[in-house]
């Protein structure tokens, strides 16, 4: 390497402006950091055979919408004020607001949402379970949709519990309509709703083994033969993700 090739640069080091002068360089606060739950490999999600697309090494994280910062705008702040101190994080996505609540606070949150005059969420649309096997420590999610007919507002509550300890308090005492919904979520996901009056299976037979809508439960099915060709069941077909 000759002297002419040496890297050129300014004579003196450039002073970096302090973060106060360049807010865009401030590190993202911890609570709004994007966290990935799982990742997607390759271009098409091919498994078991070679990926001929040339993108077989591609790794893309699965990222859900990140938490929002105050002010949330409009009535979102009113509801958030009513739940002050009980909410872990707030996600606003596509105009819908989701309150992530720790399971020990769920009953108190539900009670406040129903009884507070500024909130008045009289109507619960039930609970929907979601299983995220890659969200370590928070594998099972219970998602509640609540409706305030007084104010014509909708919110979503999301509560998580680990696979190893699948317990979430029941809110049947606040919203009796959740009786069957919680039974269904127990049936399909194995979330135990503590305090439910009679947590038994509702859709599957009483002696059914396992909880069918968990991601680790196979879809089942048998190969179908037609005119000499055999088509594997849907979960074993070559498919995209």
């Amino acid at each position: 390497m000759s002297d002419d090739d040496k890297l050129e640069g300014p004579e003196t080091a450039v002073e970096q402006p302090a973060t106060a002068q360049s807010p865009e360089n401030v590190p993202v606060p911890e609570e709004t950091r994007v966290t990935a739950v799982g990742e997607r490999h390759g271009m098409f999600g091919v498994r078991g055979s070679g990926d001929t697309s040339g993108y077989g090494g591609l790794v893309k994280p699965t990222v859900f919408p990140s938490p929002a910062q105050r002010p949330y705008g409009g009535w979102f702040d009113t509801v958030a004020d009513g739940l002050d101190g009980l909410v872990e994080s707030v996600v606003i996505h596509r105009g819908e607001i989701t309150f992530h609540v720790a399971r020990e606070n769920l009953l108190e949150v539900a009670r406040r949402l129903r009884d507070d005059e500024q909130l008045r969420f009289e109507f619960c649309s039930g609970v929907s379970g979601v299983h995220y096997p890659d969200d370590t420590g928070h594998e099972l999610h219970a998602v509640y949709h609540l409706l305030s007919m007084t104010w014509n507002r909708r919110v979503r509550l999301e509560v998580t519990c680990p696979d190893a300890d699948p317990h979430i308090p029941s809110i049947v005492s606040v919203y009796p309509t959740n009786d069957w919904h919680e039974r269904e979520t127990w049936d399909f996901f194995g979330i135990v709703f503590d305090g439910h009056p009679a947590l038994t299976r509702i859709q599957m037979p009483d002696d059914w083994p396992g909880h069918p809508q968990r991601k680790d439960y196979p879809l089942g099915g048998i190969p179908v033969e037609y005119k000499g060709g055999t088509i594997p069941p849907p979960d074993q077909r070559r498919s995209y993700n």
Binding site: V130, H145, P176, I202, Q203, M204
Partner: protein, 447 residues
């Protein structure tokens, strides 16, 4: 040799006491058994799941004291088909084909709530063309008429009003004919797709719809004339299955049951979707909170739906040749596939294009149909007003080409919880009326 009666009741001793199995109409041994004094007055009757009056495969466990129901419980799950789980293994567009089969009396509503959720996640709610929205409303309102007709028809049949059933199914057939004309199928249409609808209106459809409206205007008053002031009908329905507003909200009841308490809550008005804010209609209520009120609400709602259908037809007349699918080529399928004269579901122009003119178009078609489109990660819940109440799909995406999770909040499932509170303390015969007034559809309850 004594002939054995295949319908005779049998009995067995169990740890729970004596159990009688009655399959036919012979209750002699049951009556004897009770009369013998060995058993107490309490009888637990297992009604269904194969009983013509339980509105499908619904099992009722009734504890009776004489003819009075002291406890009523539902057993469900006989029609569970794992639709939600199956949807996780198909593309977003194929999901429509599954969810249309849930509440089989309101297929368009199942499709619509799922599709609206997907569209919200895709952030294309504003890009769905006007004609597609009008067609969705048209089909949903026709569907509401046909669903209410079945409710009134089967409800009538269950209390012995067979004429109500025959005329109810007669009119429903007209609606199904319209569905067949527009979508090609009488049920399980999979017609509402993310981004629009699958097909444009066929030629002549508007005339058929107008004929239907004219005919229904003559036929709908027949129900009122037959039932509204009929003393037998009223005696069976009035005061039966009572549930007031507080009870409705606690139990999450929606739809005609909620509106029969006098509360005008209808998502089409309060949280409009698919452009319902542009139509002129009223929310129908009644103030008796009983089965008769629910019947009257449904009857009046059919008139309102007819009004909306009429407005849709007028709007569609001005939207001839307008697009019915979103313009975004990454979501809309590349051709309007239609059954040709050769019976194949292909568009010859499109095949000429992809096979002869453009390799890129062929690749695009192949990718879109086999792989499908990706939906950004997140979750959405866009409930709509189905004939039975709030129907919503909780749609979760992890950014892939298939739903990560699709959960349906079906109003039949939720409303059926009111069986106990509506029928306990009443007569056995009133259980049938109370359940008919909830109008549960087991396909939606069990999914």
């Amino acid at each position: 040799m004594a002939t054995t009666d295949p319908y005779a009741a049998s009995e067995a001793e169990t740890s729970q006491g004596r159990v009688f199995t009655v399959t036919g109409q012979d209750w002699d041994s049951v009556v004897e058994g009770i009369g013998s004094g060995e058993t107490d007055e309490r009888v637990v009757v297992n009604m269904g799941p194969q009983h013509p009056s339980t509105h499908g495969v619904l099992r009722l466990i009734l504890e009776l004291e004489g003819e009075t129901v002291t406890e009523a419980r539902c057993g469900i799950g006989y029609l569970h088909t794992g639709i939600e789980k199956n949807m996780e293994f198909r593309s977003w567009v194929q999901g429509v084909t599954f969810c249309t089969r849930m509440d089989y009396l309101a297929p368009f509503h199942n499709e619509a709530t799922y599709v609206l959720g997907v569209e919200r996640l895709l952030d294309i709610e504003d890009q769905v063309p006007e004609k597609a929205q009008v067609m969705r409303v048209l089909l949903m309102e026709l569907n509401r008429i046909s669903s209410h007709l079945v409710c009134i028809a089967t409800g009538g049949m269950e209390i012995g009003a067979l004429t109500v059933m025959t005329i109810g199914f007669r009119e429903r057939e007209l609606v199904l004919d319209l569905f067949e004309l527009i979508t090609g199928l009488r049920m399980n249409h999979a017609f509402i797709r993310p981004g629009g609808v699958a097909q444009d209106l066929p030629p002549g459809a508007l005339d058929e719809i107008r004929d239907f409206i004219a005919l229904m205007k003559k036929r709908l008053p027949e129900y009122a004339a037959l039932c509204n002031a009929n003393p037998i009908f009223k005696a069976r329905l009035e005061g039966v299955g009572h549930l007031d507003l507080a009870g409705c909200l606690a139990l999450g009841m929606s739809g005609p049951v909620l509106r029969s308490t006098g509360y005008a809550w209808d998502l089409r008005k309060t949280q409009p979707y698919c452009g319902y804010e542009d139509y002129d209609f009223d929310v129908q209520t009644w103030d008796t909170a009983d089965s008769y009120g629910r019947f009257r609400v449904r009857l009046a709602e059919m008139w309102e739906s007819l009004k909306i259908v009429e407005q849709c037809a007028d709007r569609l007349a001005g939207l001839e040749k307008a697009p019915v699918m979103i313009e975004d080529k990454k979501i809309a399928w590349p051709s309007q596939l239609a059954i040709g004269s050769d019976g194949m579901g292909n568009s010859l122009d499109h095949i000429r294009h992809i096979m002869g003119e453009s390799m890129e178009a062929l690749i695009h078609h192949f990718k879109l149909v086999t792989e499908g489109f990706r939906v950004p990660a997140g979750q959405a819940y866009v409930p709509i007003e189905s004939p039975r109440g709030e129907l919503g799909a909780h749609v979760v995406s992890d950014g892939g080409t298939r739903p990560f999770r699709a959960h349906f909040r079906d109003p039949s499932f939720t409303n059926l919880q009111a069986t106990s509170v509506m029928s306990e303390g009443g007569m056995v015969a009133d259980v049938i009326v109370a359940i008919a007034s909830i109008d549960p559809v087991m396909g939606g309850v069990d999914r």
